[in-house]
């Protein structure tokens, strides 16, 4: 398997390298023939994002933005793009990976003969890498760039991570840290008995469930994404969902942010719309916290957090998303939250009992299949 993996890695790398070289050659050709060089980057904005109803995911449209060299507005970005392209080719050739910050540092220097830096902050650098991803139609992992590990997993599953066997049943209190690159050539699923995946928003909530050995009692996999889940987490969830057929159940806060997290997990995000095929999980389910839980669970008034102006605005925006627009359940849910006038966090269930969430709340809802789709 390793050999096969290595082979496919090599193939993939070769493909990526070829794409980079082709990109650079196009620029070179333009230059030498006297035409003004320019790059064509697909735009990652709302206007260029299309919701594919049939597939149930957000997709990127065909819109592109021209990035010419001889335009004051885009000249610097043009240069930055070419710098990163060169760095990535070097990474691939060396067979190494680097973090986003690492690539930023590699390309950061003072432009010869001036006092200007190629990059000043990482905030300038990251979007350029994303530009390259879409322009080259290559995944970040294929560019040998990884992000920080975020998120953890425990549960009834054994995986192989870069040749190391990881038994997620024996990950103690810390859990297996989800890496940034979780492609099949890095992570393979060895043995899995879990029946579903419970995904929570925060690490603290995840701790609660882990301490209570929820995954053991209910035979599932327990993951969290540390807030808005990063790509690695989403990708892994998607792989588990698709390759192992495991349903994803989300337990998130009852606020616009929680709704948004769910939306991203389900449909994909605008900024990574080009990745939706690999990241979106249209079947993901939203278990809670629901607006009705305040009454249904008989929660204390103390758990109420007032909705701010921003929250209300955000809630309305989310209600207007094409995939929520026609969805009666979601419209009711958001409306109910607005009517409540307050939001609730998952931790609010603690007011009932420390382990109420893992011993009562989730099991009951699972049994009743009381979730939003």
């Amino acid at each position: 398997m390793a050999k096969k993996t290595n082979q496919s890695i090599a193939e993939r790398d070769a493909r990526t390298q070829k794409k980079i070289v082709e990109l650079a050659q196009a620029i070179s050709k333009m230059t030498l023939s006297g035409r003004e060089p320019q790059l064509s980057i697909p735009t990652r904005t709302k206007s260029n994002t299309v919701w594919n109803r049939r597939k149930g995911i957000l997709e990127m449209g065909d819109g592109t933005a021209d990035r010419p060299l001889f335009d004051l507005k885009t000249a610097k970005q043009f240069m930055q793009t070419m710098l990163h392209a060169s760095t990535i080719k070097d990474l691939i050739e060396a067979g190494k990976t680097s973090s986003l910050r690492g690539v930023f540092y590699k390309a950061k220097h003072t432009v010869a003969g001036t006092k200007e830096n190629t990059f000043d902050t990482q905030d300038e650098s990251d979007p350029i890498l994303e530009d390259l991803e879409v322009a080259l139609a290559a995944l970040r992992e294929e560019l040998h760039v990884f992000a920080e590990n975020r998120g953890s997993m425990v549960g009834n599953i054994t995986i192989v991570d870069k040749g190391d066997e990881i038994d997620c049943r024996r990950m103690g209190s810390g859990g297996y840290a989800l890496p940034s690159i979780v492609e099949p050539d890095v992570i393979q699923f060895k043995k899995c008995e879990a029946k579903f995946i419970l995904h929570v928003e925060k690490g603290t909530v995840w701790n609660r469930f882990n301490e209570d050995r929820f995954w053991e009692k209910h035979n599932c996999i327990l993951t969290h994404g540390a807030g808005q889940p990063p790509r690695g987490c989403r990708r892994l969830l998607q792989r588990l969902n698709q390759e192992l057929g495991l349903p994803i159940i989300c337990v998130l806060d009852n606020d616009p942010w929680g709704h948004y997290i769910y939306s991203v997990i389900k449909q994909g995000s605008i900024s990574l719309a080009f990745e939706s095929t690999r990241l979106a999980i249209p079947e993901a389910k939203f278990l809670g916290i629901r607006a009705k839980d305040f009454r249904q669970c008989g929660l204390d008034d103390a758990v109420k957090i007032d909705l701010t102006e921003n929250d209300i605005k955000r809630a309305r925006e989310i209600a207007a998303y094409p995939w929520f627009e026609g969805h009666k359940g979601w419209q009711k849910e958001i409306q109910a939250m607005l009517t409540n006038g307050f939001k609730m966090e998952v931790e609010s269930l603690i007011t009932k009992d420390i382990s109420y969430v893992s011993e009562v709340y989730v099991p009951e809802r699972l049994k009743a299949k009381d979730w939003l789709d």
Binding site: L69, K76, M82, A112
Partner: protein
């Protein structure tokens, strides 16, 4: 008449009319002026020295021009009391002014130098400097009063013959000169002048100071007077500097005294002088203290004609006097009088005028009664007449304005505008304006306004002058300058205004400020606005160039990086890519390379003068704008080229703008009613200009303002 005891002091007895009558007698003109020196400009020692210089220099310029000689003038001031204490308010100076004019015939010397209110210019309606002065005699008289010393005159009217040396003093009672020395000498110019200071000696060694070859004919006047030599505003230096600007056809040499009273005195005045340092002549040279204002153009100003007065321009009293004069000399009819003594009166018009006066065509001029004259006068004001002829005026001209300013002011941009002649109250006049901007001029101070009337600088009473008011009223903000309300614009700017007229209206007898007339003010503002527009265009272009320069900088910076990155990826030669990108970058920012076009004119070597009235000196412009291409080092390629931005070549002072090698093409003019008939040779004075290959100047005629191109349209006027 009762005799009254003188002891009764209480009771005052008034004098009778007869007693008073016995005491009255004629006051001679000279006596009057001797006691009213302020009327002539001799109020205080400093002004006295200035006025003396002014009279002498004006005379020299007028004489040279009338004789069609390119003026060569030397002004020498010697301090005769160099060891006086520092607190002394004045000193005794000897002022000498030498010119290469036509000289003065012996017979006329007394009249010109020793007689007040005698001259050829007063009666004529002709544009001249002399209108503004009482004459050199007054200076001589002042000198006599303050030092007791006579005027010393050397004059040589004929190139081959000997010169006259005359010393004379004016008798104020008789208004006549008394000659104390009268001899013929070979010595012209006076040899003593060459050895006055070490500076002059050095110049003489080079052959450049009052050499007999240059001064084949001419006049030299020396006056000893009490004065005060002090630099700064309203000084001899300023006068000469401005005169040089307005008269670029003249070459002026100035030998100042060694001590500057101002440097011992008021520090603020010196500060003024320092502030003016930037406006000091660019090409003036100082050799051992001697200041030379070189010639800027080789052409004399056009000759002016004398014109008859225009009916709308005279006053009733003058009309009566004219009738009397005509009767005395011609004894002709009113009908003829009107046609001969006025301009623009045709026979038809004359007939109308006679009718309006209730006279027939045969009425004698002398028979016209006062009421009739009044009717005539009223009719003059009402009747439609063509405006007076304007060829009586000799404006400085756009090219000469630029040449003069270029010599006098160290700036980077010059613009000039010469309006066409207009009329105020029946008198022709013409306004010209010029501005100099940038370069070494101080950027944070209000603009300096220099004013001229008939090519003579106006040094005093600035705020009362119509020119100054015109500057204030112009909206300089429209041309990208700052201007606080009701104030001068602020910036590195010198604004020059010149009024040429047969009769310049002054606000007072001191003739330092031009009086307000709507027509005049309007023309001044129009002239200023034309210059302002040119400046605005230039500043816009300059800003654009700067932006373009920056743009090109940006591209050039990145090209290196990009070529390197692409080369690394594809394996191609990075240098080749770099060069190709460089070519494109240059194309993209071609504006920066083009330097200034259109109104700015594409820059050539020294900035040629052109008839559109704009001159730009590239070497004076700042680095960011100069076209020298920016070379940015290719990062880590083989043998990186030098990194520095190519600096502009060290600014050389602009070479003399005059390129034409041919002397003035004017034929030797026959002097009209000048007291000095002279057989003139062609102007012999030729400056040591390098013969240049560039095209000679096109002849200049007073132009109407250049037609405005659409791209040039600035904000609407008024």
């Amino acid at each position: 008449m009762e005799a009254v005891s003188e002891t009764t002091a209480k009771r005052r007895k008034g004098a009778t009319a007869e007693e008073m009558a016995t005491r009255q007698r004629d006051i001679s003109v000279s006596e009057f002026f001797a006691k009213n020196r302020h009327l002539l400009g001799f109020d205080n020692p400093r002004k006295a020295l200035l006025t003396a210089v002014k009279e002498a220099v004006d005379n020299s310029l007028d004489a040279c021009e009338e004789a069609s000689i390119l003026p060569e003038i030397a002004v020498i001031i010697e301090d005769l009391q160099p060891d006086r204490p520092a607190t002394a308010k004045s000193s005794r100076y000897r002022l000498t002014v030498v010119d290469n004019g036509p000289g003065i015939v012996r017979k006329q010397v007394e009249n010109i130098f020793g007689r007040l209110l005698y001259g050829s210019k007063f009666h004529r309606l002709k544009m001249s400097r002399g209108q503004q002065g009482i004459g050199i005699s007054a200076a001589g008289m002042y000198g006599l009063i303050t030092t007791g010393r006579p005027m010393v005159i050397h004059t040589k009217p004929k190139a081959g013959s000997a010169a006259h040396h005359i010393e004379l003093a004016m008798n104020t009672k008789t208004n006549r000169a008394e000659v104390t020395t009268d001899e013929e000498v070979k010595d012209f110019p006076p040899a003593r002048l060459a050895t006055i200071t070490s500076g002059t000696r050095a110049l003489v060694a080079e052959g450049g100071f009052v050499s007999p070859e240059t001064f084949r004919t001419g006049t030299s006047v020396s006056i000893e007077l009490e004065g005060r030599y002090q630099r700064g505003r309203g000084s001899v230096d300023e006068f000469l500097e401005l005169t040089a600007i307005a008269n670029p056809h003249a070459r002026i040499t100035f030998v100042p005294p060694s001590r500057d009273a101002g440097s011992e005195d008021d520090a603020s005045i010196l500060a003024h002088a320092e502030a003016n340092a930037a406006t000091k002549a660019t090409a003036t040279t100082e050799t051992g203290g001697v200041v030379i204002y070189p010639r800027g153009v080789q052409d004399l100003p056009p000759e002016t004609r004398e014109i008859q007065p225009h009916p709308k321009g005279i006053e009733l009293g003058i009309l009566l006097q004219m009738l009397k004069d005509y009767e005395a000399t011609e004894k002709g009819s009113l009908f003829n009088f009107l046609q001969e003594r006025f301009c623009r009166v045709s026979s038809a018009t004359a007939a109308q005028m006679c009718k309006a006066a209730g006279a027939t065509s045969r009425t004698r001029a002398g028979d016209v009664e006062a009421p009739q004259a009044e009717k005539l006068f009223t009719f003059f004001q009402e009747v439609k007449l063509p405006p007076p002829p304007t060829d009586c005026l000799a404006p400085i001209g756009v090219r000469q304005l630029l040449a003069g300013l270029l010599k006098g002011v160290r700036a980077e941009f010059y613009a000039a505008s010469s309006r066409s002649a207009e009329v105020y109250r029946g008198r022709p006049f013409q306004i010209e304006a010029a501005i100099a901007f940038g370069g070494d001029l101080p950027a944070d101070e209000p603009a300096r306004v220099i004013r001229f009337a008939n090519r003579v600088p106006l040094l005093f009473q600035q705020s009362a002058c119509s020119s100054f008011k015109a500057v204030l009223e112009t909206g300089w903000k429209n041309y990208n300058l700052q201007q606080p309300r009701g104030s001068l614009p602020v910036g590195p700017l010198v604004i020059m205004l010149h009024m040429a007229s047969v009769w310049v209206p002054f606000t007072s007898e001191s003739k330092e400020a031009i009086a307000d007339y709507d027509e005049i003010r309007k023309e001044m503002k129009l002239a200023l606005m034309e210059c302002g527009r040119k400046l605005g265009t230039y500043l816009n272009k300059r800003a654009k160039m700067r932006r373009e320069g920056e743009r090109r900088d940006v591209f050039e910076r990145y090209i290196g990086e990009i070529a390197k990155a692409v080369g690394a990826i594809t394996g191609e030669d990075a240098k080749r890519l770099y060069d190709a990108l460089q070519v494109q970058a240059k194309r993209k920012t071609a504006v920066a390379d083009q330097q200034l076009d259109e109104d700015g004119k594409v820059l050539r070597e020294q900035g040629e003068l052109d008839d559109d009235g704009v001159l730009i000196v590239p070497t004076a412009m700042s680095d960011a704008v100069v076209s020298a291409p920016v070379t940015v080092a290719m990062p880590e390629l083989a043998a990186p080229p030098a990194r520095a931005k190519a600096k502009p070549s060290t600014p050389a002072s602009p070479k003399p703008a005059s390129r034409s090698a041919a002397p003035s093409s004017k034929p030797p003019a026959k002097p009209a009613s000048k007291p000095a008939p002279a057989a003139l040779s062609k102007p012999s004075a030729k400056p040591a200009a390098k013969p240049a290959p560039a095209a000679p100047f096109k002849p200049v005629a007073p132009r109407p303002p250049a037609p405005r191109r659409p791209s040039q349209d600035g904000p609407t006027l008024f």
